[in-house]
């Protein structure tokens, strides 16, 4: 990989990581009439983006500071980029999974005969650019701008199918996400700026100073923390979770990458960043409010799992599972033990790899066998063995069992909760894991072990396996889950660096 | 003595205003407004603002009263009482307003006090002492209006122009291809039945127009100028219209011509300014118009006063024409309608109208 170091400087890489998805989007629009060239360019843009992020990762490993100021429209609203471990982790996950999802989407969209594929790929690329910009934001203000950009760029994807349900879902989507971000998150951002005079992400936090100076009370800071936890509604903490099941009307690649990885993780990422770099772990620990918020998140974990059990629609079940898993990360952030925060960071990656595999599987079932409901899946594993095998691995990762990466992150989370002395949270995590065994593992079990329906009830028509691009993508992401189990060191180092004060 | 006159006039104004508020008959209110203007004009004369008094008398008493009457003729004279709540609000606002104004006058220098800032400021001295020498114009008001603050006057002319265009745009008639059928009684206007009025008033029109020209030209030496002249000229035309009917008047001076004259007056005024720029001076710096700056000033002032006069006269005439034509159409249509109704109901056309 040495050629990458020589080939471009880190500043160029940073800009290129943001620009290449946009360039990809432009290319996609330009090449719209020729589907092969269009999809190819999207794929190439994905690979280039990933290489750029990789270059940044190498620079960070080497200890180079990676930061850049872009422009400042009004005082206090500074658009600046700065790479730190957590952001890098997030960017790595998003940029690695993008080309894989593109690969999957090519097969899926063609098999599904979707219309407006050009628009689809273009907005997909724009969203990725916004996600990377969010991951690299140096301060809360530019993070907020990127946050909103993501909402807007994904809106056309949610309403892609252009029918009544899609538009209704789009309304809920936009209403909840915009409402909370403008009403709560923006207020929080401005509050931080007013209190601390800056919104820059600083190791150790920026709000400890004003508290020590007596400029602000703990209660106010508690309210501020609440503004962030609920304002970042992309994290889907109840009661602002309804947009996520609604957004499942989007095509599966969108649900897979955006609503399991990029967009929702943008929400928890925001909360993690705020807790670690704005408040600082020590400060949050002193706030009474964090306990309260902890219980809200814990409730979300359990409640979402319970709801997921009752959902027959596969994608909805996965969506509620996502809601639960996101709250794991929020819990990890709010527990403010170093282990739990590390676990939360790691869970971003582990859950991403696992959940995207599950969605890929669900999408493959939809386009190949036209099955939407769990109850229809009896015995389907015999026709689509690869799909269902990958699905099983993904499920294991979400549950937190070896041989998948989910095990490490969940272990760290539970350890952190235990050390922080929050017994009920440990219990909640365990209950939710047990429930996820029920609602997730039951699916591959059903697919492989139950007999296919008899002739009277309607035999599976012989439809063969999923499109080959889909299969490749699934194998890759399932492999990633296993890889995270075998070699978690690199990511673990990153999350450890996040909680350690930088020299 | 002067104070006594002031007080009496002000008391008059107050009581007239009160009466105008109280009366339920809009016709009386219109008349009261006319009287109010007349007394204001008298007050201006007492205050030595003869130029203003002239305009006030012509516009306030003459033109606007006629306009109000024309409007009333097509709407009716009676007013229904307004809900009491609104009146309380209006009263409260008026009381606050009046209180603020009184409060504002508490620290004001007394009327005519030589120590007032208005008199002690250097520009007052400039206007009274330097200006006559500089300009060579005995009437102090004219150079102030037309030169020192000539740009304001250009603006005021533009306001008058806007008013004219506005009336044209809102109630000005489209030049119809199919004019309304004229009811027989309207053909000759109303004047036939008022022979005395007609004969006497006809004699008055030429002196009025002549006087307008005098006021126009005499602005440098006595009270007068474009505004006053324009208003007086228009009053003369208005009298003609009242006597002979708007149709006749429209044939004497066509509305299209008036419309172009409105624009022409403002253009003359602004054109002088542009010429000044071309001559190398500032906008409206008349001194560039001739070799001798004083001559230039005179030329400039005369020209712009002419522009003002044309625009004002044309605008006021246009407004009156438009209103009168509007009313005429209104009344005529109503009469036609009623007559048709009466024809249907009765055989004798004489008894229905």
């Amino acid at each position: 990989m040495g050629w990458l170091l020589e080939w471009m400087s880190v500043e160029v890489a940073l800009l290129a990581a943001l620009v290449s998805p946009l360039a990809g989007a432009a290319l996609v629009v330009a090449l719209g009439p020729n589907p092969n060239a269009r999809d190819g360019s999207s794929l190439v843009a994905g690979v280039v983006t990933f290489l750029c992020v990789l270059r940044i990762a190498m620079a960070l490993q080497a200890g180079e500071p990676v930061a850049m100021e872009l422009w400042e429209p009004t005082p206090g609203l500074l658009f600046a980029l700065e790479v730190e471990p957590l952001g890098l982790l997030f960017a790595l996950v998003a940029s690695l999974l993008w080309p894989i999802t593109t690969l999957y989407a090519i097969g899926y969209m063609r098999a599904h005969h979707e219309e407006h594929q050009t628009r689809f790929f273009a907005f997909f690329a724009i969203t990725i650019s916004a996600v990377l910009a969010l991951a690299f934001s140096a301060n809360l203000a530019s993070l907020f701008v990127c946050y909103e950009a993501i909402t807007l760029a994904t809106f056309p994807l949610v309403t892609h199918s252009n029918d009544r349900t899609a538009w209704r879902a789009g309304r809920v989507y936009l209403g909840i996400l915009m409402g909370t971000s403008v009403g709560l998150l923006l207020f929080g951002v401005l509050g931080v700026h007013a209190l601390a005079g800056t919104t820059r992400f600083t190791p150790g936090g920026v709000l400890a100073g004003p508290l020590a100076d007596g400029n602000v009370s703990k209660a106010t800071l508690g309210v501020l923390l609440g503004l962030f936890v609920f304002g970042a509604a992309k994290a889907a903490v109840m009661p602002f979770h309804r947009w996520l099941p609604n957004a499942m009307v989007a095509p599966t690649p969108v649900s897979a990458l955006l609503h399991a990885v990029a967009v929702v993780k943008a929400g928890v990422f925001t909360i993690l960043k705020v807790v670690v770099y704005i408040f600082g772990l020590d400060l949050v620990r002193e706030l009474h409010a964090h306990t309260l918020l902890l219980y809200v998140a814990g409730f979300t974990v359990v409640a979402a799992s319970v709801i997921a059990m009752h959902k027959d629609n596969l994608k909805e079940r996965l969506a509620y599972s996502t809601i639960g898993q996101l709250s794991y990360i929020v819990l990890g952030a709010l527990l403010v033990a170093p282990e739990s925060v590390q676990g939360a960071g790691l869970h971003i990656a582990a859950h991403a790899a696992g959940k995207i595999t599950l969605f890929f599987g669900a999408g493959a079932l939809l386009v190949t066998a036209h099955k939407k409901y769990v109850s229809e899946l009896d015995g389907i594993g015999r026709q689509m063995p690869i799909t269902m095998a990958c699905f099983a691995i993904g499920s294991l990762s979400i549950i937190g069992l070896p041989p998948t990466g989910g095990m490490w992150s969940k272990l760290l989370l539970i350890e952190g909760a235990y050390h922080a002395g929050h017994g009920p949270v440990v219990v909640a995590l365990l209950i939710s894991s047990l429930l996820s065994v029920v609602y997730l593992l039951s699916i591959p079990v059903r697919a492989f072990l139950r007999p296919a329906p008899t002739a009277q009830t309607g035999e599976h028509p012989h439809h063969g396996p999923a499109p080959w691009t889909c299969r490749i993508a699934m194998v890759l992401t399932a492999g990633l889950s296993v890889w995270l189990f075998l070699f978690p060191d690199f990511l673990y180092d990153l999350v450890v660096r996040m909680t350690e004060p930088t020299p | 003595m002067g104070v006594a006159i002031d007080i009496i006039l002000l008391l008059f104004l107050l009581s007239i205003a009160f009466a105008a508020c109280v009366t339920r008959n809009l016709f009386s209110a219109a008349m009261l407004f006319g009287i109010f203007s007349l007394i204001s004009a008298t007050l201006f004369v007492v205050l030595d603002a003869v130029d203003v008094a002239m305009t006030e008398a012509a516009v306030g008493t003459g033109v606007s009263t006629i306009l109000i009457l024309i409007t009333l003729a097509s709407t009716g004279y009676r007013v229904s009482p307004r809900p009491a709540g609104r009146q309380v609000l209006a009263l409260a606002v008026s009381v606050v307003l009046g209180a603020t104004m009184v409060y504002g006058t508490l620290d004001m220098p007394s009327l005519g006090s030589p120590d007032a800032p208005v008199h002690t400021h250097p520009i007052a001295q400039y206007y009274t002492e330097v200006s006559p020498v500089e300009m060579g114009i005995p009437n102090m008001v004219t150079p102030l209006l037309a030169s020192y603050r000539g740009y304001d006057t250009l603006g005021e002319t533009a306001v008058v122009f806007t008013a004219g265009i506005g009336v044209l745009a809102l109630i000005g008639r489209r030049r119809r291809k199919d004019p309304l059928p004229i009811v027989e009684e309207f053909r000759e206007g109303g004047a036939n039945r008022h022979r005395v009025l007609r004969v006497i008033s006809k004699q008055l029109i030429p002196p009025i127009l002549l006087y307008a020209c005098y006021v126009q030209a005499h602005g440098d030496f006595g009270p007068g100028g474009g505004f006053q002249a324009g208003v007086i000229f228009a009053s003369g035309l208005m009298l003609f219209m009242l006597l002979f009917g708007v149709e006749h008047a429209r044939r004497i001076i066509r509305p299209v011509v008036l419309e172009k004259l409105i624009a022409l007056g403002l253009l003359i005024y602004g054109g002088v300014g542009l010429v000044n720029i071309l001559q190398g001076g500032a906008f409206l710096d008349y001194r560039t118009l001739a070799h001798d700056p004083q001559h230039g000033l005179h030329y400039g002032i005369l020209t712009i006063e002419l522009g003002v006069g044309i625009t004002v006269a044309a605008v006021i005439t246009t407004i009156i024409y438009s209103f009168a034509s509007h009313l005429r159409d209104h009344v005529m249509q109503r009469t036609l309608r009623l007559r048709q109704g009466a024809d249907a109901a009765q055989t004798s056309p004489e008894s229905g109208a």
């Binding site: 009403g183 | 504002g104 020192y148 603050r149 533009a158 122009f161």
Partner: protein, 502 residues
């Protein structure tokens, strides 16, 4: 020569082309002349803005008489900024007006319409550039009178009553201004703003403290402030505005909403800073204490009312009242940051409201009405127009990367810098309400289906869509590359505040 006289030509050109339009008489010719005049004004305004940025305040002696004997034109940065807004909007609106006016106004009135548009334009420009308190009133009258005509010149009968109401209240406002100027003249003996400001700080001739502490000056300020509040439609003096914007012809709505209130706010700044600056009106009168609460209540109430509007133009009009509230908050804070935020929001609001009203005008051109239920699904068949509408709407909400966000951000920062937490929260609440009403419009236009059997609709003519799109892209441009605008408004605010400092 043109550079030397640019400052006067920018106003006088449109003022004199107005009678020319009447002389030309024909609609098309008048349109051509008006377009030329407005575009040259735009060019001159840009030139002037550049020069003000370089050289500072520009002065021009009208009639060659040195102030305070004569009238002085005096262009500072705030004036140049507003002048650029007005001319830019004019330059965009005029090409648009050709088709729109033909559709909405009777043909024999076209020349008069363009004459009035130019007069209104010239009057607004005159306000931005004048350094004389009475000349400001004259310009105000020209623009107001022309506005009343413009509003009522269309075919909508309801516009007549709206214009009449506006005329009554507008005249009250102008009269208040005049009374205020009269009082000030009584106490200073001059009409030149700078001269007034100087004399106000001097000791009174009778030795009783400075002039600005007299009751007369206080009453004058009260009159000037209230009169101007009427003109900027600050709650609760906003009652004239909704119907005026709703029933006026599309071009007029767009032009007025983007310019008139901005210029009125400049008048307020002139009163507060240029005339009474050194005496700091914020100390003498409880301006901040009344203005900020009024503005915030206005923003909330207007946003709330906007949600329930069934007519797009009325909805946008109420949103204008809310936005004016934001600007008033910035001024009421009486800090440099607040002032800069207000000025910035002025620019951005001009762009976004211009976009929205122009886009609605495009729809009116094709559909002929603005009731929401009549517009179901129209946006789908007019993609360019609805793109502009969506961009403008997002900007109005204050979505990041649009112009509206930058200024709202600046405003919130200024508010929080003074730790007015509640005000900030209420501003955000009003933004949330704006999501609702903008969302409603977009929902009806784009998401609802056209009623069965409705006639197919085309995109509006190119000459209407292009200007709309230009402004719509302005929303993005000023959201992404807003540093220049922000810098100019910051400097303008700094200049105004510095005038206060001795």
């Amino acid at each position: 020569m043109i550079a030397e006289h640019a400052i006067i030509l920018v106003v006088v050109l449109p003022l004199l082309v107005a009678p020319l339009c009447v002389l030309l008489g024909r609609g098309t010719l008048a349109w051509g002349a008006a377009t030329l005049a407005v575009w040259s004004s735009f060019g001159l305004a840009l030139h002037l803005l550049g020069r003000v940025l370089e050289e500072g305040v520009l002065r021009y002696q009208l009639g060659g008489w040195a102030p305070p004997v004569g009238i002085e034109y005096r262009l500072d940065l705030a004036g140049a900024l507003v002048m650029t807004i007005v001319t830019a909007i004019g330059a965009v609106v005029l090409p648009y007006s050709f088709a729109s006016v033909r559709r909405e106004i009777d043909e024999h009135r076209h020349a008069w319409f363009y004459a009035c548009l130019l007069l209104c334009f010239a009057g607004l420009l005159g306000i931005t550039v004048t350094g004389d308190a009475f000349n400001l009133f004259v310009s105000l009258e020209i623009s107001s009178l022309a506005t009343y005509v413009l509003v009522s010149i269309g075919r909508d009968r309801r516009a007549l009553t709206a214009a009449f109401r506006y005329l009554l209240l507008g005249t009250v406002g102008a009269t208040f201004y005049l009374i205020g100027v009269g009082f000030l003249y009584q106490m200073t003996g001059t009409l030149n703003m700078e001269d007034m400001a100087r004399i106000l700080t001097e000791a009174r001739p009778d030795g009783l403290g400075p002039v600005h502490s007299t009751k007369t000056v206080r009453a004058a300020l009260a009159f000037l402030t209230v009169g101007t509040f009427l003109k900027i439609a600050l709650f609760p003096l906003h009652v004239w505005l909704p119907n005026v914007y709703a029933y006026a012809p599309s071009v007029v709505s767009a032009f007025l909403s983007a310019t008139a209130t901005k210029v009125a706010i400049l008048v307020l700044l002139r009163v507060f800073y240029t005339v009474d600056g050194k005496a700091t009106p914020f100390d003498a009168l409880p301006i901040a204490d009344t203005m900020v609460p009024l503005a915030i209540v206005g923003a909330l109430v207007a946003s709330f009312v906007a949600i329930y509007q069934r007519d797009v133009k009325r909805l946008l009009a109420y949103s204008s009242i809310a936005q004016v509230g934001y600007m008033a908050i910035g001024i009421g804070l009486a800090t440099q940051a607040g002032l800069a935020a207000s000025l910035l929001h002025m620019i951005n609001h001009a762009i976004m409201k211009g976009t929205l009203f122009l886009a609605v005008g495009c729809i009116v051109y094709r559909v002929g009405q603005t009731r929401l239920e009549g517009l179901r699904g129209v946006g789908r068949e007019m993609p360019l127009t609805s793109t502009a509408l969506v961009l403008g709407g997002l900007s109005l909400i204050g979505v990041p990367l649009t112009a509206g966000f930058v200024s709202k951000w600046a405003l919130l920062q200024a508010v929080l810098a003074d730790s007015h937490w509640i005000v900030a929260a209420l501003i955000l609440l009003s933004s949330l309400l704006s999501i609702l009403y903008v969302g409603q419009v977009i929902h009806v236009l784009l998401l609802r289906k056209r009623p069965p059997g409705a006639a197919p609709i085309q995109e509006a003519p190119l000459w209407m869509v292009l200007p709309t799109l230009v402004l719509a892209i302005g929303n993005l441009w000023f959201g992404i590359a807003s540093d220049q605008a922000a810098e100019v408004s910051r400097q303008a605010a700094e200049f105004l505040i510095r005038e206060v400092a001795p």
